[in-house]
């Protein structure tokens, strides 16, 4: 390679497995028989239902009202009848309140949604439109976008980074979106640049998507937007690692990107921002990669939020065999699901079905201090030490070894030859640290 690609220190190189779906154009997923729209799909306070069973709703109509600033409304994915408002299985593992909608097949937009000319809007109006549209970070964390877009005035954002890295193996949703709908993304980038008032705008893309890099570079030729190819390495798309790769600056421990004048948004969030600000359309659909060795026909689908996983599988030709694990999200940071009854939500960038032999590994062994977790850790921590402390409930020691800095990317567990569930242990330790802090402040 002639030029050394930008990246961060640490990380791992898992097999990409993107070949199954990378070349498949985005398909519109047909409407399922029933939508299950959870009222909690974002980080922050869940919204409260503002519809009742039996009520007719239109596509894009608000069905859940936000509660507080760090919260977003929830909208009807299509027109139809509200069948129930009750707890339903949720991707997070428990049953949580959801609005169940039976589509009427008309797919009729709500009338109150209005398009707007961005030239007539102030940044504050745009942020408000984003909030009303329920836009969240689409990379998987699902943090309300309007909160991220309203930094306190003393934190000036000079660099705006768009995350098109998609470093999780298997997933190709962002890749296809960049290839097929670059104008939606670029419009969103222009809007976000205006809102933040940023001087430098960068789109970071992993070098394993040369077609997307070339396309966006061509589209951005006469604009101030830089498109940068980044080394193929997991977790290149983690916020702090992406910032380090692009700017060479580290976000301070315990701090936020805005502390060093940087903001990061996912490319698909940019597309959703376009829809929200220009067309007034709420976030009711996203691109989701349905893939894995147990799926007959891996696909990139444009899905409505609230589509049950069973419907997605059916659209992809069904199962080749019974899966061992159902994972919403990528294989490194996704969540395993108890059944196909769960709906896809705003953060669901992929549905991954793995066969049993791919998910069962040998029983946990003793740590041989091989230091692979240390070498792989993108946060430069000592995962094995933190995990050992966490398991013995030595909360203060785990905190001392900076457990709270862990981003739970999974590099350590991936590398561990003794198959110790390091991330799970560290997560356990983090929960204990938070609980202890809370107990002390009370």
């Amino acid at each position: 390679m002639a030029i050394k690609l930008k990246t961060f220190c640490g990380g791992i190189h898992p097999p990409g497995n993107k070949q199954w779906s990378a070349h498949k154009p985005i398909e519109d997923c047909p409407l399922p028989e029933e939508f299950i729209v959870p009222l909690a799909q974002h980080i922050g306070a869940p919204s409260t239902a503002c519809v009742e069973p039996g009520q007719l709703v239109a596509k894009g109509q608000t069905i859940g009202a936000p509660k507080g600033f760090v919260s977003v409304p929830v909208h009807a994915p299509t027109s139809g009848e509200v069948v129930a408002v009750e707890p339903r299985p949720h991707p997070w593992g428990t049953s949580l309140p959801a609005v169940v909608i039976r589509p009427d097949g008309e797919d009729r937009w709500a009338e109150e949604l209005e398009a707007a000319d961005p030239n007539d809007l102030y940044p504050e109006d745009m942020v408000e439109r984003v909030r009303l549209a329920g836009v969240v970070g689409m990379g998987g964390a699902a943090f309300p976008a309007h909160v991220k877009m309203s930094p306190p005035p003393e934190k000036k954002i000079h660099t705006l980074i768009f995350n098109g890295v998609e470093c999780e193996p298997y997933l190709t949703a962002d890749h296809r979106l960049m290839l097929e709908e670059p104008e939606r993304i670029l419009q969103g980038i222009a809007l976000l640049r205006f809102i933040y008032g940023a001087e430098r705008v960068v789109i970071g893309i992993e070098a394993n998507k040369p077609d997307a890099i070339a396309l966006l570079q061509a589209e951005c030729k006469d604009t101030p937007v830089e498109v940068i190819a980044l080394e193929v390495k997991y977790p290149q798309g983690a916020e702090k690692q992406l910032i380090a790769a692009v700017t060479g600056t580290e976000v301070p421990s315990g701090g936020l990107p805005m502390d060093i004048g940087v903001a990061v948004q996912n490319v698909s969030t940019a597309a959703a921002v376009t829809d929200a600000i220009i067309y007034g359309r709420p976030l009711i659909e996203r691109i989701c990669t349905v893939t894995g060795s147990a799926v007959r026909e891996p696909k990139n689908l444009r899905i409505r939020i609230g589509t049950p996983l069973s419907h997605l599988v059916a659209v992809c030709g069904g199962l080749l065999e019974e899966p061992g694990k159902i994972i919403l999200g990528g294989p490194m940071m996704g969540f395993t699901q108890t059944s196909f009854d769960v709906p896809a939500v705003r953060g669901s960038s992929g549905l991954l079905l793995l066969r049993e032999e791919e998910v069962v590994c040998q029983a946990e062994g003793p740590c041989i201090r091989c230091a692979r977790c240390v070498q792989g850790c993108p946060m430069h921590l000592l995962p094995t030490t933190i995990a050992a402390y966490a398991r013995r409930n030595l909360v203060a020691e785990a905190a001392e070894y900076r457990a709270m800095d862990c981003i739970e990317c999974g590099c350590c567990s991936y590398n561990c030859p003794a198959t110790i569930p390091l991330v799970q242990a560290i997560r356990y330790g983090k929960a204990a640290i938070i609980a202890k802090k809370r107990a002390l402040t009370l």
Binding site: E250, G324, K325, Q337, G365, C367, A371, Q375, V423, Q424
Partner: protein
């Protein structure tokens, strides 16, 4: 759904490389040195290798049965300890000495601390040092290499380092013939322990481990670099008395020590800086013991002493966490 799903915390994929894969790779990397040993020292070397390896595995199985633990000798760690122990014994070792060494390595060196991953010292070196101190005569009876088919009987002699130490002690000067054999030392044609004689074969094995990313460069480079630097200083000051750095590199157990003993994962630091500190410490101690100590060879003692310092090194060489100011790890 006919079968039940698996659920777990993320991540959901694994590199696929397990502890036993690592151990198997280490065993494989030790093969060239085994072949060279058998070539130069014949059946006695093979006997030492077999007794040590099987002895270690048997000792581990017996230990774990007695303690009511699941038997884990399939992970190959006992076999690695056994081969490394054999590499550290003279080819003329009687069978009982080898077997005793195997039992010491596994029982006192490993299982009493809680088995794999819990031992503070390199088990093979613990056994070697115990034997060296308890049976000095057996452990320092060396034989000239006699390549297979050459028909020579094994002749008792001294190692190059031993020759040098004797000469220095008696005359204050290095022996005149010492520099002659650097290349043959490198290939393995010198008296010494089973596995330490051929630097070439060991380097071959080490290269494989580097390729498999089981070894990192930190410890070997720091160790050998320190030895070269420090012994080079002494050599420049007084070439009459002190041997040159190349002699240091190719004789004794330095290559074996630097690539296979000092890099034992369990007993060495986990951070990169820690590994460098560890390697430098081993280098300094080795040169000091070789040049000024009572024993001609200092690699085992140097590594064991640094093993003891590992928790301390780990404590003070924590890597600088992402987003922390520089120098944060050194507290």
């Amino acid at each position: 759904m006919s079968q039940q799903l698996y659920l777990s915390s993320s991540p959901h994929i694994h590199s696929g490389e397990t502890t036993s894969d690592v151990m198997r790779a280490v065993l494989f990397s030790l093969l060239p040195a085994c072949v060279v040993a058998v070539y130069f020292f014949g059946p006695p070397a093979l006997a030492v290798l077999l007794i040590a390896t099987l002895g270690c595995m048997a000792a581990e199985v017996i230990c774990q049965c007695l303690m009511g633990q699941p038997v884990s000798s399939a992970d190959g760690s006992a076999a690695v300890t056994g081969v490394l122990l054999a590499f550290n014994l003279p080819p003329t070792s009687p069978w009982w000495l080898t077997l005793l060494g195997a039992v010491i390595a596994i029982v006192i060196g490993k299982q009493v601390y809680g088995g794999l991953g819990s031992n503070p010292f390199n088990p093979a070196l613990v056994a070697r040092v115990v034997l060296l101190i308890s049976f000095p005569v057996h452990m320092t009876t060396w034989s000239l290499p006699a390549p297979l088919g050459s028909g020579l009987d094994l002749v008792t002699t001294a190692t190059p380092l031993g020759v040098w130490k004797n000469a220095v002690m008696l005359t204050g000067h290095a022996p005149p013939e010492m520099q002659a054999g650097t290349l043959s030392f490198f290939l393995g044609d010198m008296p010494g322990c089973v596995g330490e004689v051929s630097a070439l074969a060991l380097l071959l094995g080490a290269a494989y481990l580097f390729y498999r990313r089981i070894l990192t460069w930190h410890i070997p480079v720091a160790y050998l670099g320190t030895v070269v630097l420090l012994s080079g200083i002494f050599w420049l000051v007084n070439p009459e008395k002190y041997p040159d750095p190349v002699f240091h590199l190719v004789t004794g157990g330095l290559i074996l020590g630097a690539f296979f003993m000092a890099t034992d994962m369990v007993t060495t630091p986990v951070s990169m800086t820690g590994m460098l500190v560890f390697g430098v410490g081993c280098g300094v101690l080795t040169v000091m013991i070789r040049l000024f100590g009572g024993y001609p060879e200092g690699v085992s003692f140097a590594i064991l002493l640094m093993n003891a310092a590992t928790p301390l090194i780990d404590r003070y060489t924590r890597p600088k966490a992402f987003g922390m100011p520089r120098g944060e790890g050194w507290r």
